[in-house]
Amino acid sequence: MFPELSIERIFRRELDSLPLPAERLWVPNRQSGPSAIVAVSVVCAALVLIIAAAGLVRDASGAATEPRGAVSTPTSLPSRPTCAPPAFGANGRCVTFLPNAVRNPAQGYNLTIPGEWRETQMPPGTEPVVPDRQSASPSLTAPFLLDRHVFTARPAQEWVSLTTVNVAPAWDLDVQVWDRQGRSAQEWSLTFGPCDHTTVNYGPVGCVERTETIRGVSALATTVSSISGYQATSYYIERGDQMLILRYWTDRNTPPPAGVTNATLEGIVHSIGLV
């Protein structure tokens, strides 16, 4: 029998990696004739004059009737759409950026990140380390770390102010590829990950471990919670001699960027396609 279920997965996995054209090539752009432009311009100019005139009248009357120091509130403001982040208002509409495909052909994976996300560079010379074991874990430095990309929704300045030496800020996604040195995903998570049994002594929850299938690939997922309010979630995927790790931190003491939630991060992780 034809393996239709697996073939559907293969279709999705492979075709989802096909490149898209630049947005400017396909986003609809309404065309107006010159007469329409003139008409619209005239109407806009007239509106501006009316609003300016109304403002002058109001200022004049307000100066006489309102007490000194009172704040004048316009009776009517141009209506602006109320957009739930990550959407933002533009030309009277709520707009969201289209998601971006991130391809890493060298390490054989693709990700889809929301349009307002971007890749950011960790400070030069930094390597991810096991908490509290920085000096005791020489095996975790290069060349065993093969590749690392950090994705964020924060503006550059905000991001820099939150970054510590090695750890991407809360609400970012850290994607690392390591030489797994013969370790399984579980062994890795228990020795080098935030679930390291020698260091997980914080928080009442400890390490919660589960196995998930992400787009046909088995992944070990661990979550470590702390009393202070942060939580580290890591996904470990064995790939030949390599270990692909997707990790993010959430922290109730660090406000997430607008529109970013656990679901956003999980969505990015679960968009991964392995090629």
Partner: protein, 159 residues
């Protein structure tokens, strides 16, 4: 039947479905410019006469675009900022040839490819495919059966 899909809603739906339908068209037409033209023609067709309901828009766009891709229609009244795709037909061909799916589809006719992609990638069932393509369900079943037989043979040849 009167439709309630406004122009704004149509644009929104188009943006939502673009990536999926464009990739499906790439798999069928194997030509980025043709896929883009065809999909934009489908978008304009939808502006003129939108489908009756929001549901299954990807299937509607896909089939209208496949037909447009065959006819080579041009967009007449709504201008889309349009330049040639940055990736060439040869690059897409090479990319598809490296993919398991690309190799499987390569041995099929364009019509077979369209139905296979509609089923396996866009997730349409036989009845939906028949409705969109304007053919009987039996025709879809037969076409897909032939396509699957060819794909099986391709798999056997490779292994």
């Amino acid at each position: 039947m009167a439709t309630t899909i406004t122009t704004e809603r149509w644009e929104q739906l188009y943006r939502q479905e673009f990536a999926r339908v464009y990739r499906a068209l790439l798999a069928v037409l194997r030509d980025p410019d043709r896929a883009l033209d065809a999909l934009q023609d489908a978008f304009v067709s939808g502006l003129r006469k939108p489908p009756a309901e929001d549901a299954d828009l990807a299937g509607w766009l896909f089939v209208v675009a496949v037909r447009s891709g065959r006819r080579g229609l041009r967009r007449p009244f709504l201008r889309l900022d349009h330049a040639r795709s940055l990736i060439s037909k040869d690059e897409i061909d090479a990319l598809l040839d490296r993919m398991e799916v690309g190799r499987l589809l390569d041995g099929l006719t364009e019509r077979q490819r369209a139905m296979v992609v509609a089923q396996f990638y866009l997730g349409l069932d036989h009845r939906d495919i028949a409705r969109h393509f304007g053919v009987k369900t039996g025709t879809v079943s037969a076409t897909l059966a032939q396509a699957k037989a060819r794909m099986r043979a391709e798999v056997r040849n490779v292994s």
